[in-house]
């Protein structure tokens, strides 16, 4: 099911376009929305999320999957932390399937698939890999290899047969495809646009992606993501309790 709902106001606070194998990281406060738009067919965004205030709490693939009985992500589903809370909700999505299990490319895979490529020879079109991009961005926030966990691959679809064998679905996301993530906690977002590790395309060709950040309020009591699963309702309650306890007291 593909759904596109414009929840965000018209004017972004921040816009950035990532070219080549772009990488980006930022802290986005509770209530902010990040829109990712694929500018060419076949884009991929490797994504990791951390509690910005206490980064030992981070996106957790198994809790996200088993909390929602699903093997991929789409509109109305949530990205769970390893502490029973929601880091982000998918409030809009024109794609309908985002990979959760295949992880990141590394230097060996990129060299094997696309051949050697150095900065000396290729300048800024040299071949990057997603693992190194994650480690470079994580280091800027004092994080490192101990913080590498299975990441999301937005815009990419991989299906499993009954024996668990995986097949990559080429060109899953068309140009203009987009997804909007609303952050339910102050969140460190770390992402890059390297190709999906199972993309069989023999050409090194990371696609450009536009990022836009919008301001907005935290969700209301009738929020559809909150009510998409009873597990999400409880995770939202846990998140609200956490945010209420850590917020400065307004009583003098």
């Amino acid at each position: 099911m593909n759904l596109a709902i414009d929840n965000a106001p018209a004017a972004p606070l921040y816009t950035r376009t990532l070219d080549h194998a772009g990488m980006w990281s930022a802290v986005l406060g509770r209530g902010k929305t990040l829109r990712c738009t694929a500018l060419e067919r076949g884009a991929n965004v490797g994504l990791l999320l951390y509690n910005a205030d206490v980064p030992v709490e981070r996106y957790n693939m198994p809790d996200t999957l088993k909390g929602q009985h699903i093997f991929y992500l789409r509109h109305l589903y949530c990205l769970h932390s390893d502490m029973g809370r929601v880091l982000a909700s998918i409030i809009a999505d024109t794609v309908g399937w985002h990979d959760t299990v295949c992880g990141a490319s590394d230097a060996a895979l990129v060299a094997q698939k696309y051949g050697p490529s150095t900065y000396q020879a290729a300048r800024n079109e040299f071949h990057r890999n997603a693992r190194d991009c994650f480690l470079i961005e994580l280091a800027k926030w004092g994080l490192g290899p101990r913080d590498l966990v299975p990441n999301l691959n937005l815009f990419s679809k991989v299906v499993a047969d009954e024996a668990g064998r995986l097949t990559f679905v080429p060109d899953h996301a068309p140009a203009g495809a987009r997804i909007e993530l609303r952050f339910e906690m102050n969140t460190l977002v770390v992402l890059n646009t390297c190709q999906h590790p199972l993309d069989p395309d023999p050409a090194y060709h990371p696609r450009p992606v536009r990022l836009e950040v919008f301001a907005g309020p935290p969700p209301g009591a009738d929020d559809p993501c909150r009510h998409s699963r009873p597990e999400n309702e409880r995770a939202f309650l846990n998140t609200e309790n956490y945010c209420a306890l850590r917020a400065p007291s307004s009583v003098p």
Partner: protein, 219 residues
């Protein structure tokens, strides 16, 4: 037996010749350093028990088991004989060399007190859970390890089938009393097990039971 699970592969190793044997009760941690070439066998003594397991490079525990690297290297979800358990640096830590169960999970992760509140009910927070067992086991083995080191684990003997349309279910185990999985350490590694105490879903058939751990030296 699920017809789509892998062929079962038995081991020729004799338990009487093992260098180490230990029974681990449900709800207990177990951790130990394995030298490269040693063989680790985990036995599901009574059947349908989930053995939640993590591995670390013994020389540099920042390099550890990676579920996503393991999945993408074999382009398949389930673990069985022949699966190389890959590290976060893309190197094999161990290889599964025998398996009389046929399929093991690496998507379901470990239960925690916090995730139990999300999955079942807010009042399940007090129930014993794997991630607190992992923390105890990790710190017994290496005091510097903690929650930051608990990545997405393996659930030996657990069956979490994914359907072609992308649904994920916790099914009855494929395992049975006495079934085992055997792994060869490809270098010096730390093995960390939480013998799962979960009572809220069928991963342990609602009755958590002991496992046995055996280690053989290289021949």
């Amino acid at each position: 037996m699920n017809p789509s699970s892998a062929p079962l592969v038995e081991s020729a190793l004799d338990p009487a010749a093992a260098a180490y044997r230990q029974i681990v009760g449900a709800g207990d941690p177990w951790s130990r350093e394995l030298r490269g070439g040693q063989i680790l066998r985990i036995v599901d003594l009574e059947g349908n028990q989930s053995a939640d397991t993590l591995f670390y490079d013994a020389g540099d525990p920042a390099e550890r088991y990676s579920a996503s690297d393991t999945i993408r290297h074999q382009a398949a979800l389930y673990l069985t004989t022949g699966t190389r358990l890959m590290s976060t640096a893309g190197r094999p830590l161990l290889t599964i060399v025998a398996d009389t169960c046929g399929r093991h999970d690496t998507l379901g992760g470990a239960c925690s007190r916090e995730s139990n509140t999300m999955r079942y009910a807010l009042d399940r927070e007090s129930m014993h859970a794997c991630r607190e067992i992992f923390i105890r086991g990790a710190q017994e083995c290496r005091p510097e390890l903690g929650k930051r080191d608990l990545t997405c684990n393996i659930n030996f003997f657990m069956n979490v089938p994914v359907t072609p349309d992308g649904r994920l279910t916790f099914a009855d185990g494929l395992s049975a009393p006495g079934r085992y999985v055997e792994l060869r350490a490809e270098r010096d590694v730390i093995a960390l097990i939480s013998n799962c105490p979960q009572l809220n879903n069928p991963c342990n058939a609602y009755n958590p039971t002991p496992i046995e751990v055996l280690i053989w030296d290289p021949r």
